[in-house]
């Protein structure tokens, strides 16, 4: 149900995020609520906007209280005056921050970058979980009591305990006799997505380049997970050869040696063929490299692979070229020449960390 307040609430959220009414920004303060989760104290961020008014300055003003204690009894800390707090003698309460959920994060990302919502392809887009009554359980709400089964159980128990008199067949169900209908949520086909990350780990990809890939892929994950119920992610690293690895290895391996990109594309194509038939999956390919391929011949091979095998099966294939001091960056130029007009391919050049922002927009800005 949509409440009237939702409109006001949205507006408030937008102001806090700085999307509208920039002039209110200077009145925003970051408040918090202190809550408790299990043993931990948690801090729940609560941004507030204070409209300025003529009010009394607090200036550590006192007040009237009620309770025990002699003059001098300490009640609690004053508001922070900022700056010279001096060293305290008490251990700080350890607060865990309740972060925004990933979903909220994805929404913010979407708003910030003005990303269109993804429209999953065609008939794979059936997301409906239907509850069906399929079983019987011993617990449940009275509304779902299964009369026949309960009756049977009562009858069985009464006979077993020898209290059953055929001439006066009174049955009294007790708690243990009761049976309830129970349900299962039927899993109907739903929009699934598979993400294949490919990364060049040849000697020219340094720590900084990988950092960029890590950050960018985190945001891509967040965004795609926001749109699909089930997301599977596979990682491929390649130098002169390609192999599938787990997430940890993907981000932390540093190999050396040459770069043969077609190896990775070939492996990706095989994976898609085996595991992600395009009738059932929304497949996304992301490839990051510094753009230095082994030979022009291999680049042609890549283009052929993309054209014939990868592009027809994916929603979008994205290539991000991370600037590195060693790479020539030729690969991007070649791809653009060969496939630049194909809307299934997104190309982006990431010069440094600040470039990530723009690059995400290029990758995800098409709503595919």
């Amino acid at each position: 149900m949509i409440l009237r307040i939702d409109q006001d609430h949205n507006r408030f959220r937008q102001i806090v995020r700085g999307r509208i009414k920039q002039d209110l920004k200077r009145y925003i303060s970051s408040g918090e609520l202190i809550g408790r989760r299990g043993k931990d104290l948690i801090s729940i961020p609560l941004p507030q906007i204070h409209i300025p008014q003529f009010i009394y300055g607090k200036k550590q003003q006192g007040g009237v209280g009620q309770g025990d204690g002699a003059p001098g009894t300490v009640l609690g800390p004053g508001e922070k005056d900022g700056g010279n707090q001096g060293a305290g003698d008490q251990a700080a309460e350890h607060l865990l921050e309740v972060d925004v959920s990933l979903d909220e994060l994805a929404e913010m990302l979407g708003e910030e970058l003005e990303l269109p919502a993804i429209k999953p392809k065609g008939r794979k887009n059936i997301v409906a979980a239907r509850d069906r009554y399929v079983g019987i359980s011993r617990y449940g709400p009275e509304g779902l009591r299964h009369f026949k089964r309960t009756y049977k159980e009562t009858l069985k128990r009464t006979i077993r305990t020898g209290n059953y008199r055929p001439e006066h067949p009174l049955l009294m169900p007790i708690r243990q006799d009761k049976r309830y209908r129970s349900w299962k949520s039927a899993l109907l086909p739903q929009a699934n997505a598979a993400i294949l990350y490919m990364m060049d780990v040849s000697g020219s990809m340094g720590e900084e380049q990988k950092e960029i890939v890590r950050i960018e892929s985190f945001w891509i994950d967040t965004w795609l997970r926001h749109h699909y119920k089930g997301v599977e992610i596979r990682y491929i690293i390649h130098d002169a050869e390609a192999r599938e690895v787990d997430r940890e290895t993907f981000y932390h391996t540093r190999e050396s040696g040459g770069t043969v990109i077609s190896a990775a594309y070939r492996l990706a194509a095989r994976m898609i063929e085996q595991d992600y038939p395009s009738e059932e999956w929304n497949v996304y390919g992301f490839h990051f490299s510094d753009g230095d391929n082994w030979s022009q011949g291999d680049t042609e091979e890549c283009v052929t692979l993309l054209k014939s095998q990868l592009l027809p099966r994916v929603n979008q294939f994205s290539y991000g070229q991370v600037e590195s001091p060693y790479g020539t960056g030729q690969f991007l130029v070649d791809l653009k020449e060969a496939l630049g007009s194909d809307e299934r391919i997104a190309l982006s050049k990431i010069e440094n960390k600040d470039g990530i922002y723009q690059s995400i927009r290029e990758f995800l800005g098409r709503g595919r």
Binding site: L3, Q48, I49, F54, V74
Partner: protein, 495 residues
């Protein structure tokens, strides 16, 4: 919104009967039962189902929703001052809570109806709030959401600048109509032949001139007397467009509607608590509900160290009732300095119940505390003053001295804890600038807020604005001309 289920409707009937039997006198009460989201919405709107669109309601909603979903606080009930009185119950409350809440609501409603501070409030505010919403929406359609909302922000920045007593008194009576007669220099009585000696003509002429100049200056002075209802002053005199005037009028109306609730927080909550506890313990509690009731009731009255209006209010009513039952008031009692006799004092007057009904009729929080908070009460309730110790950075108890505690309490309640600001001169420096005066009472304004508020005021007044106040214990004039702030010492005394 759903109708009350049968069991609660039955309960309402019973509780209404009890309330009437105790002598409570209320508007008809309409209960609505809401789920927590709806209740949070209504609470964010200050108890009303419809308000004009504004982000601050959304902010309030976020606060309430977060506190609720993390289990920090929950609203049991909302009740609004209206005829009929609307009250909202939280759907998932247990029956014992609903009972308590209903009793509480009837007492609030009695208070709204009978307390004199509320006597001039609009009892059809529910409808008016909806009208306000329509008017503001219409303005938004015509002038754009952003434009109108920003102006509402400005208006809200000034919405504490009203005169809460204005509904009850006429501040400036219009002049009798005719121009005040020309001032005439006074002459000493004399025989006619001595006249020129006793009243030398050149002196008389000079005096005459001076008086006329003074009168002219007085006529030029505008407003003639300082004005506390600044919002009204702006509506009447600021160069605004009609829709802007309308927005200011709406914000002002609502500020006046809510003002008595701020003036009687302690009394109102105390009264409601007094009666729900009376009804529950004397009439309605079943054995199985006792523990839950005690738990929730003490939750309402709890709070470590802080002053809780529910607690202070209910204890003070009980104290008054007890004192008037036993005749512990008046000259004889006050002058009795035999402590043993004072402790035993009981004239068996039985005037308590009548007295608290009288108090709930005529008092606001300020007079409630001023007239009835006694030294004994202060001691029994363990009231204390606390202050900030700059050395440790902590708040600590400073004293338990009755006079000081009471004085501080009254200070905090005066003008609902808001500074008093008045329009001193709308033609400041003879340039149509607006000069406000902060009536200084020992506490300075929050300086950065004051500046920002001046900036907002400037956007309404359209000409430079200035505020005469005290900064760091010195009389200062802070002014804003649309671009820069200026601050300088002032020769005028503020207080």
């Amino acid at each position: 919104m759903s109708r009350l289920p049968a069991d609660l409707a039955k309960l309402q009937e019973i509780i209404e009967g009890h309330a009437r039997a105790y002598g409570l006198d209320f508007f008809p009460v309409v209960f609505e039962i809401l789920d927590y989201r709806m209740l949070n919405q209504v609470a964010s709107y200050g108890g009303f189902p419809t308000r004009y669109p504004h982000w601050r309601f959304g902010m309030e909603y976020e606060h309430l929703s977060k506190s609720y979903s993390y289990g920090l606080s929950k609203i049991y009930e909302m009740v609004i001052n209206n005829d009929p009185c609307y009250a909202y119950l939280l759907e998932c409350n247990a029956t014992v809570d609903q009972k308590l809440v209903m009793g509480h609501v009837y007492a609030h409603c009695d208070f709204f109806k009978n307390n004199l501070a509320f006597s001039r409030t609009n009892r059809k505010m529910m409808d008016d709030m909806a009208n306000h919403a329509t008017r503001i929406r219409r303005a938004m359609d015509r002038h754009g959401v952003e434009t109108v909302e920003s102006f509402v922000d400005l208006a809200l920045s000034l919405d504490n600048l009203i005169d809460p007593h204005a509904p009850f008194i006429v501040r400036d009576r219009p002049d009798a109509g005719e121009e005040p007669s020309r001032p005439v220099a006074q002459r000493m009585k004399s025989k006619s032949y001595m006249s020129d000696f006793i009243n030398p003509p050149h002196l008389i002429a000079a005096e005459q001139k001076r008086l006329e100049a003074e009168a002219a200056a007085r006529r030029r002075k505008f407003p003639a007397q300082e004005v506390r209802d600044i919002l009204r002053f702006l509506i009447e005199h600021a160069p605004l467009e009609n829709w802007q005037r309308d927005v200011l009028a709406i914000v002002r109306d609502e500020a006046y509607y809510f003002a008595p609730q701020a003036q009687t927080k302690i009394m109102n909550e105390g009264w409601a608590t007094y009666w729900h506890s009376k009804m529950m313990t004397e009439k309605m509690l079943t054995d199985s509900e006792l523990i839950d009731y005690a738990d929730h009731h003490s939750g309402t009255l709890g709070g470590r160290g802080r002053l809780n209006p529910y607690k202070l209010g209910v204890e003070l009513y009980r104290d008054i009732e007890d004192r008037w039952n036993r005749g512990r008031f008046g000259k004889d009692y006050d002058e009795c300095d035999d402590l043993r006799e004072r402790a035993r004092w009981d004239r068996k007057l039985g005037l308590g119940r009548d007295k608290i009904f009288e108090v709930r009729r005529v008092c606001t929080d300020v007079t409630f505390i001023d007239d009835y908070l006694t030294e004994e009460f202060c001691r029994e309730q363990k009231l204390f003053n606390f202050d900030h110790n700059p050395k440790t950075g902590m708040y600590q108890i400073s004293d338990r001295e009755f006079r000081k505690v009471k004085q501080r309490l009254l200070m905090q309640l005066t003008n609902q804890g808001q500074p008093i600001i008045q329009v001193a001169d709308a033609n400041h420096r003879n340039r149509g600038e607006l000069l406000l005066r902060h009536v200084y009472d020992g506490v300075e304004l929050k300086h950065d807020y004051a500046r920002e508020t001046l900036r907002n005021l400037h956007r309404i007044w359209g000409r430079p604005v200035a505020l005469l106040t005290v900064v760091d214990e010195k009389s200062r004039i802070v002014s804003f001309d649309g671009e820069d702030f200026e601050e300088k010492d002032s020769a005028d005394k503020v207080a």
